[in-house]
C-alpha cells in the first residue's frame, strides 16, 4: 500500500500495561497482537514484551508493549517498568468498581513518575459481559438491565478520563470490540516531538537522545542503528 515508494517514518514507542490483576490486560494485548483470545487464561507469565506495528497515514508506530508479568499483584512493579514509557494503557474491569479505583491510582502514579507528555488511555474491558451490543456500533448508555454485569457506568469513567485528559474506551478483548481503535488512538496521540526520530531539547526525557551514547553489546547488529532504513 506504499503510496509513493518513499518509506514512511517509523518509530518505536514503549507502551506499558497497568491495572489490577485479572482485568484483562494481557488479553487486550493478545487480541491486538495476535487477534486471539483465550478463555480462562492463566495469570500472566511468560511475556517480556510484545511488539506490534500500527500503520498511520503518515507514519508507522511500532509498539513495544510491556506486560506487568504479574508484578502488580503485590504492588511490586519496579520504576524501570514505567519510566521512559511514551504510552500507558490503564485497564479496569467494568464489572468491578474496585478495579476503577485501582486504575485511578495508576493514573496518579504515572502523572507523578512517568515522562511528562506520556499518553495515557483508560480502558474499561469486558464489555461482552454487559447488555451493550459489544461488537455492535455504540457506546450504549450504561444500564442496569437484567443479566447485565456492568457496575461502572460509561459516564462515570468517561467524565473522569476527560478531567484527567486521558483517552477513553470501552472494549471487549473477547469479541475484539474497540481493541484496535485503542491502539490507533494512542498512536495518533503520540506527539511527533517525543518520537525517537526526533532530536533536540525537550526530547531528552523520552529516550530520544540516547542513540549516540548507547553502547551496543551485540556487535554491529544494532537494531537501533537501523532506524529509517529502507525496507
Amino acid at each position: 500500500m506504499a503510496d509513493s515508494g518513499a518509506p514512511k517514518p517509523s518509530s518505536s514507542v514503549k507502551l506499558v500495561l497497568l491495572g489490577e490483576a485479572a482485568v484483562g490486560k494481557s488479553s487486550l494485548v493478545l487480541r491486538f497482537v495476535n487477534n486471539d483470545f483465550q478463555e480462562n487464561k492463566e495469570p500472566t507469565i511468560g511475556a517480556a514484551f510484545l511488539t506490534q506495528k500500527c500503520n498511520l497515514p503518515t507514519r508507522t508506530i511500532k509498539f513495544e508493549i510491556w506486560d506487568t508479568a504479574g508484578q502488580e499483584r503485590f504492588a511490586s512493579l519496579a520504576p524501570m517498568y514505567y519510566r521512559n514509557a511514551q504510552a500507558a494503557l490503564v485497564v479496569y474491569d467494568l464489572t468491578k468498581p474496585t478495579s476503577l479505583i485501582k486504575a485511578k491510582h495508576w493514573v496518579a502514579e504515572l502523572q507523578r513518575q512517568a515522562s511528562p507528555g506520556i499518553v495515557i488511555a483508560l480502558v474499561g474491558n469486558k464489555l461482552d459481559l454487559t447488555n451493550d451490543a459489544a461488537g455492535g456500533d455504540g457506546e450504549g448508555a450504561g444500564g442496569d438491565g437484567e443479566g447485565d454485569a456492568r457496575k461502572v457506568t460509561t459516564e462515570e469513567a468517561k467524565s473522569y478520563a476527560e478531567e484527567e485528559g486521558l483517552l477513553f474506551f470501552e472494549t471487549s478483548a473477547k469479541t475484539g470490540y474497540n481493541v484496535t481503535e485503542v491502539f490507533t488512538a494512542i498512536a495518533n496521540a503520540i506527539p511527533e516531538t517525543s518520537l525517537k526520530t526526533a532530536r533536540g531539547p525537550g526530547a531528552s526525557s523520552a529516550a530520544a537522545r540516547t542513540e549516540e551514547q548507547r553502547v551496543n553489546l551485540n556487535g554491529p547488529r544494532d537494531p537501533n542503528a537501523k532506524e529509517g532504513c529502507a525496507c
Binding site: 511488539t51 506486560d67 551514547q213 551485540n218
Partner: protein, 492 residues
C-alpha cells in the same frame, strides 16, 4: 489464584540486591516455584538507586540502624531556589560501579538476553588531580594515557617516562607468560608501587597513574592483584567500541541490572513482594517454615538471603554531590567514532589533599563524575560520587576533594553544589555459603569496579537450589522470549 500459603515454594529469595536478583534471572527458565521478597519497598538493596525523596527515607532508616551496612548518613541541601529539580528527576546510585568490558557480568547478561532492557553507556577518561604548588594558581586535572596511542600523543609526560610506560603496558598484556612471570613473581605480594619502581624505574607520578587505573581503594594493591586488574583494563579497551574500557548502566548502575533481572524472574513466573521480609524462620523443619512480615506463613524447600551480619569496622566513606553544571570538558570523546562517554573518573592521589589541621590524605580519593546522560540528574547538571577509605578525617577530605574539584574545573564561575549526601559503608569479610537449606550471600564489596568474584556465589546458590537438576552449560544461557525479537531484525 493460589494463595502464598498453599504453594510449596522451591526457593524463597530474600532481598533484591544484585546477587539475589541475578539468581532470580538464573532461575527464570527453570520451572522452579520462586517467591522473591524484599523488606525494602524498593529494588536493589545495597545497590539501589534513589530519587531525592527516597534518599530521605533511606537516610532516616540508616539513622535508626535498620540498614546494617550503612551508617552516618546525612543530606545537605543548598537553601532557597537553587536550580535543584523535582525529587524524581534524580536517581542517585548507592553502588556506582563501573563494569569492565571483559567482565563476565556483561557476557552473562548477553547470554541470558537480559541485556536488551539495559542501556549501557561508555566510561570515558581517567584523570589525576594535580594540586598546584602555588595556592594562587588553579589545580589541574591531568588525563592518564592508558593506551599506546594515548602514550604516544600525550604531552603530559617526558619522553623517558613514555618509554617506561610503554614498556610496562606491553609487559602487562602478556604478564602471565614466561619470561614475564620471572620478573614479577618475586614481587607478587609486595605493593605494586614497589614493583613499578624496581623493575620499571617509574617515578612517583607514573606510579600514581598506574595505581589509579587499578582503582585500589587504599592505593596499596599488591603486584599480583594489580597486574591482573591493569590487564583487565587494557584488554577491555576497545572491546565494545573505540576509546573506552568500561561501561555503566543508565539510570543508576547496578540498580538497573537488579531491576531488569527481577523482571526476568517475574516473566518466568516468580512471585514478587516488596515491603515484605522474613519475620520468623524455622529451618529445623523440612520444608522450612517462614512467617512473613505480611502475616502469611509459607513453606519452602530452600532459602537464599544475605548472610547474617558479620561486619567489621573498616569500610568506605562516600559523598554524593549534585552540581549545577554539565561539566562538559570531562566528557569529550578522544577517539573518532567513540560514543560520548557519560562517566569520567578522577583520582586524588594520597597526599594531594589535606584537612584544615594540615593532615595530608593517607589514601586516594576517587571521584566518578556522571553526566545527565546517565539519567541520574536533569540536563545541565552532573552527579559526583566521591569515595575514600574510612579513616579519621575522611569526611572532611571528601569535602575538600569536592571543593578542589569544582575549583579545578571552573571556567568563569565555580559550579555550584546543590545537594550533598554523605554516608559510610562498612566492608565485610563474611563469605557466601550454604548451610543446610539456607544459602547466605556475603554483603557486596565496596570496590569501584564490578568484581567478578560476586558472580561465583550466584552460581553456587543456583547449584544449591537446582541440586541435581542443574546443567552447567545452561547457566544463564537462554533464548529470546517470543516477541522480544525485533521483527525488522528477522527480515533485514
Amino acid at each position: 489464584m493460589e494463595s502464598l500459603a498453599d504453594t510449596l515454594w522451591d526457593v524463597v529469595i530474600c532481598g533484591t540486591g544484585l546477587q539475589q536478583s541475578l539468581l532470580a534471572l538464573a532461575l527464570s527458565r527453570s520451572d522452579k516455584k520462586v517467591l522473591h521478597i524484599d523488606p525494602n519497598d524498593f529494588y536493589g538493596g545495597a545497590e539501589a538507586a534513589f530519587s531525592l525523596q527516597e534518599v530521605e527515607s533511606w537516610v532516616e532508616k540508616v539513622e535508626t540502624g535498620k540498614e546494617g551496612l550503612f551508617r552516618a548518613a546525612s543530606v545537605e541541601k543548598l537553601e532557597g531556589d537553587t536550580g535543584l529539580s523535582f525529587p524524581r528527576a534524580y536517581s542517585l546510585a548507592l553502588a556506582p560501579q563501573l563494569i569492565h568490558a571483559r567482565s563476565a557480568l556483561l557476557s552473562q547478561l548477553v547470554s541470558s538476553r537480559a541485556y536488551r532492557q539495559v542501556e549501557f553507556l561508555a566510561v570515558g577518561s581517567f584523570s589525576i588531580f594535580k594540586p598546584s604548588p602555588d595556592p594562587s594558581q588553579h589545580s589541574a586535572l591531568v588525563r592518564i594515557p592508558s593506551t599506546r596511542e594515548d602514550v604516544f600523543s600525550t604531552t603530559a609526560i617526558s619522553a623517558k617516562a613514555k618509554r617506561g610506560l610503554m614498556k610496562f603496558l606491553k609487559f602487562v598484556l602478556d604478564y602471565e607468560s614466561n619470561p614475564q612471570t620471572d620478573t614479577w613473581h618475586p614481587h607478587a605480594d609486595a605493593p605494586l608501587t614497589e614493583f613499578l619502581l624496581k623493575e620499571f624505574k617509574m617515578d612517583k607520578e607514573l606510579q600514581t597513574y598506574i595505581i589509579t587505573l587499578t582503582l585500589s581503594l587504599d592505593g596499596k594493591i599488591n603486584t599480583r592483584d594489580g597486574l591482573a586488574v591493569i590487564r583487565r583494563h587494557l584488554s577491555s579497551m576497545g572491546m565494545y567500541g573505540p576509546g573506552f574500557a568500561a561501561l555503566y548502566p543508565k539510570w543508576g548502575g547496578l540498580s538497573e541490572i537488579a531491576q531488569v533481572s527481577c523482571r526476568a524472574g517475574a516473566v518466568g513466573g516468580a512471585v514478587y513482594m516488596l515491603g515484605t521480609g522474613v519475620k520468623t524462620m524455622n529451618d529445623q523443619e523440612n520444608p522450612v517454615v517462614i512467617e512473613l512480615t505480611s502475616g502469611d506463613t509459607i513453606k519452602t524447600r530452600k532459602v537464599v538471603r544475605a548472610s547474617e551480619n558479620a561486619t567489621d569496622n573498616t569500610g568506605i566513606n562516600r559523598l554524593v554531590a549534585i552540581v549545577g553544571s554539565p561539566l562538559k570538558s570531562l566528557f569529550d570523546s578522544t577517539v573518532e567514532g567513540a560514543p560520548t562517554p557519560a562517566v569520567a573518573i578522577v583520582a586524588f592521589p594520597a597526599g594531594s589533599l589535606s584537612t584544615a589541621a594540615g593532615e595530608a590524605s593517607q589514601s586516594p580519593v576517587y571521584l566518578s563524575v556522571h553526566s545527565s546522560d546517565t539519567g541520574e540528574c536533569p540536563a545541565n547538571q552532573s552527579v559526583l560520587y566521591f569515595t575514600t577509605v574510612s579513616e579519621p578525617g575522611s569526611q572532611e577530605l571528601l569535602r575538600r576533594a569536592l571543593d578542589s574539584f569544582l575549583a579545578a574545573v571552573a571556567g568563569d564561575t565555580v559550579p555550584q553544589c546543590l545537594y550533598k549526601l554523605e554516608y559510610q559503608q562498612r566492608q565485610c569479610s563474611a563469605r557466601s555459603q550454604a548451610s543446610g537449606s539456607i544459602f547466605g550471600f556475603a554483603p557486596p564489596t565496596s570496590s569501584l569496579a564490578f568484581d567478578d568474584s560476586t558472580l561465583q556465589s550466584v552460581h553456587d546458590a543456583w547449584k544449591m537450589v537446582l541440586d541435581d537438576e542443574s546443567v552447567e552449560e545452561d547457566y544463564l544461557t537462554f533464548a529470546d522470549r517470543e516477541g522480544a525479537m525485533d521483527d525488522d531484525e528477522i527480515y533485514d
